[in-house]
Symmetry: C2
Subunit: 143 residues, 2 copies
DNA sequence: ATGCAATTGCAAATCACTTGCAACTGAAGA
DNA sequence: TCTTCAGTTGCAAGTGATTTGCAATTGCAT
């Protein structure tokens, strides 16, 4: 859709900065993440990885996702009733609308909602560390 | 805090209406849910249940939660990084603020946010079936 | 090129549930 | 009240997603 508009995140630099090795399996997984336009889960990433290097293991995919999440390079989303799905952390903050029929994920953003959230938290005596806003919906058939 | 203000849901009537038996284990679990002021998970409900009737099994707790969720008597919340937690469906809609230090759950409600959500979904060509809004925060120390 | 701690693949383990099955029990009817 | 029997239960085994132990491998700083 608009892949060309999104700058590919430089994962290798992030790894180097985190002081971890840039290994072959990591390079493969990172490549997949860089040009994933969707929100794949670990198994899907594994499937794509095996196409490139058959020796990669699912554990390594999980370990790499955890590592990348740890250094803040990707975000993990545990949408309802399914495995975690991942996306590059690059780009600005957004929330998700999940098509309950297809599993498609649509990103959206609302400053107004963000504001309201902080306002609510503040009133309750809390400061938000992070939040989760997911809309589960069904495509309206145009009439 | 305000247990006395919340009407205890009549679970037994709900079960009867759903045409299922009111058994001893169910009565015990229902009793626990009725006066749970918190948002316990299955294991916690099981622990409380065993106090009352040592023969209750964890499977029955899970089966009962699924049953109650199915008839709409309770809501299931899968907060980040933990097992599902439950709460009576009685009372009006609200979202949750989770204290990331203690796990405490605070309920809040914002008509404005609800409105905005529908507006956003509509603009994207979707109708919301349900949604999930969770704020994860830390208590502000009063100064 | 060498050394070795970081990393990997594989298998086994864990966590939160779910399910198969034989025994048990509400509750509708005799 | 007593029967009857499909709905329920406890227990153990099974799942799906993810994590972990460990021995073998491999980046990468000498």
């Amino acid at each position: 859709m608009n892949e060309t508009l999104i700058p590919k995140p430089d994962y290798e630099a992030a790894l180097r900065e985190a002081g971890v090795r840039i290994t072959r399996p990591r390079r493969v997984i990172l490549g997949i993440l860089s040009d994933a336009g969707d929100h794949p889960d670990a198994m899907e990433i594994f499937r794509r990885a095996v196409e490139i290097d058959a020796s990669i293991s699912l554990s390594t995919v999980y370990r790499t996702m955890k590592l990348l999440e740890g250094i803040g390079a990707i975000h993990r989303h545990a949408f309802e009733g399914g495995p975690s799905r991942f996306e590059p952390a690059a780009g600005d903050h957004h929330d998700h609308l999940i098509d309950i029929e297809t599993g498609d994920v649509i990103e959206f953003q609302s400053d107004r909602i963000e504001e309201l959230q902080h306002e609510i938290a503040r009133e309750l005596g809390y400061e938000i560390v992070h939040h989760r806003l997911e809309l589960y919906g069904r495509r309206k058939r145009k009439r």
